[in-house]
């Protein structure tokens, strides 16, 4: 298994070198920091998305779910649209990036905190109900967004529309430090819970039998996961199926249940997909198609295949 992880790390290294070097023109003192910051942002987003998906699938005991099903992306677009609707596009896009990032990331985390803590504190914690509530709220957020977008100025609508798709070419590198700090803290905490997550895979009753405080672990994992999703969405925009795609591939490449291995392999595969995909699209084919559209197409197709095959456990 370790050998496979080493191979993945080698592939990631090659992709990173290609991303940094292919088509580089001009002084290196400009190119290296410029592309380096983008590369760091891509890695941050890749690891956040894969980690959040792995832990979400574990606590929901369902291997075809992804955090985006909980309506996070929809909430992000709703916050953006609501702000434009209330204050006008000039005001909203006049705010500093840091401010918009802080508001959207903290609103998403707060919404997750309210949803998870109220639903998991009830006497009978029911994750299926939690997920379904997330799906319904996602629908509500989309409907509200749609409503507001119909009555705002068409020019502002175009700006929101642009921000509603994940963009890996125009990354908010100014926000990188604060986003990285937030995500790395969440990831370290999740990494420390990897053994408890291994036990939770056995099911709630087996985990309680083995001394794991299942409810507390679930709540903590979902909170940290929502921080990761909120930060990565605020950084590049909503990405629906990247997590599902890379985690499914990781389960094929490293077919084990240990989170110590799975989290690493999913992160490496996620980073390879984003960096490799972005290099090919942006540098080789010089396409302006956002990578997220390609990823969502592949991930959506995979989701349907998994659903049709009834792959749950």
């Amino acid at each position: 298994m370790n050998r496979r992880l080493i191979w993945l790390a080698v592939i990631l290294f090659v992709c990173s070198v290609a991303y940094m070097s292919v088509g580089a023109r001009g002084p290196l003192s400009f190119v290296l920091p410029f592309r380096g910051a983008k590369l760091a942002a891509l890695i941050l987003v890749a690891v956040s998305v894969s980690t959040s998906t792995v832990v979400f699938q574990t606590v929901t005991q369902n291997k075809i779910l992804t955090p985006s099903i909980m309506g996070f992306d929809a909430l992000y677009v709703l916050i953006l649209t609501g702000a434009v609707y209330s204050f006008g596009g000039m005001v909203v896009f006049g705010f500093s990036d840091q401010f918009v990032f802080a508001v959207s990331a903290s609103s998403m985390t707060l919404a997750a905190l309210i949803l998870f803590s109220t639903m998991l504190q009830s006497a009978k914690a029911d994750l299926l109900r939690l997920v379904l509530t997330g799906v319904v709220l996602g629908g509500l957020f989309r409907a509200l967004t749609d409503f507001m977008q119909r009555i705002i100025d068409p020019n502002e609508f175009a700006v929101i529309q642009g921000a509603s798709y994940a963009r890996f070419s125009v990354l908010e590198t100014d926000l990188l430090m604060i986003a990285a700090a937030t995500c790395i803290i969440s990831m370290i905490l999740l990494w420390r819970m990897r053994f408890a997550l291994d036990v939770i895979v056995l099911g709630r009753e087996a985990a309680v039998n083995l001394g794991v405080n299942v409810k507390r672990t679930q709540l903590l994992v979902l909170m940290l996961m929502s921080v990761l999703v909120a930060v990565s969405t605020a950084l590049v925009g909503p990405i629906a199926f990247l997590g599902l795609l890379v985690v499914s591939v990781a389960r094929l490449v490293t077919p084990v249940e240990q989170h110590g291995v799975l989290l690493v392999s999913a992160s490496l595969i996620s980073a390879i997909t984003l960096i490799g995909g972005q290099t090919i699209l942006e540098r080789v084919f010089r396409l302006s198609t956002p990578l997220s559209v390609v990823i969502d197409l592949l991930g959506g197709a995979l989701f349907l295949i998994l659903l049709l095959r009834g792959y749950r456990r």
Binding site: Q61, A123, R194, F195, A196, D198, V199, V201, L202, G203, E205, A206, V208, N209, L210, G211, V212, N213, P255, V256, E257, R313
Partner: protein
């Protein structure tokens, strides 16, 4: 000893257990019998804290269930639930190793590996150690799961219908093994059984439940009789005695 005092449990307006008080003897095999819906599994779940106590107290040895930490309870008591979600990609050894989690929290020591090897040997699984769980029969998986509970090395073991999925040979050998484990390692074992004959043959103590209450308790020869079958199971069956053990003729 497991001591249960005035425990009641209800779901919505349905009373599942009504004011149960019971002492389960230490170092013996106790069988819980009763018709479906009698509250046997719920009682086991409350003892093992799979469900939260609504009223009353449960004491396992010196531990007050409901107040002790999860890890502390897991080092004293293990439970085999009725239904299990087993990760199919685990090997037999990997699953049995989880039994040591309450002690090593993910970082096994040599002592933990020895306990796992011992459990595999006692339950006759040493040859299957590397085999993935999805390549095993239902009965074998059941055995692996009980081996995991054994590796947990707790003084108290609760098993909810462990004979499910087992044929007659598997059921007999498992019951004999559990009696042996109880005797050799002085473990207190509580088993939910549907077949009264297994309870009569292998248990030291039987607790009969119906509608969330205890109807009778005692040794098999004391309580397994026609009256019990009529009162608890609403059935008239003949009883014969083989080597002093009451056997129900069906």
């Amino acid at each position: 000893m497991i001591s249960i005092r005035n425990v009641s449990y209800q779901i919505g307006s349905t009373m599942i257990l009504s004011d149960i008080s019971l002492e389960i003897p230490k170092g013996k095999v106790t069988a819980l019998i009763g018709p479906n819906g009698a509250g046997k599994s719920t009682l086991l779940s409350l003892i093992a804290r799979l469900e939260r106590l609504q009223s009353g107290t449960v004491r396992v040895g010196n531990l007050l269930v409901g107040e002790c930490s999860n890890r502390e309870l897991a080092q004293h008591l293990s439970i085999l639930p009725q239904t299990l979600d087993q990760a199919p990609r685990l090997s037999v050894r990997e699953l049995v190793s989880f039994g040591r989690y309450p002690y090593h929290q993910g970082r096994p020591q040599a002592e933990d590996n020895r306990a796992v090897d011992h459990a595999l040997t006692v339950f006759g699984l040493a040859d299957l150690a590397q085999r993935p769980l999805d390549a095993l029969s239902g009965g074998q998986r059941q055995r692996v799961q009980i081996a995991m509970n054994f590796a947990q090395d707790t003084e108290y073991m609760l098993l909810d219908e462990p004979l499910n999925n087992l044929d007659i040979a598997g059921a007999r050998s498992l019951m004999a093994l559990l009696c042996d484990v109880s005797e050799r390692h002085s473990k207190t074992i509580v088993i939910v059984l549907h077949d009264i004959n297994y309870a009569s043959r292998y248990a030291d103590h039987i607790v009969a439940m119906q509608n969330g209450t205890i109807m009778a308790e005692g040794t098999p020869s004391e309580i397994v009789n026609a009256d019990l079958l009529r009162d608890v199971f609403q059935t008239n069956a003949e009883i014969m005695h083989v080597d002093g053990v009451p056997i129900v003729l069906v």
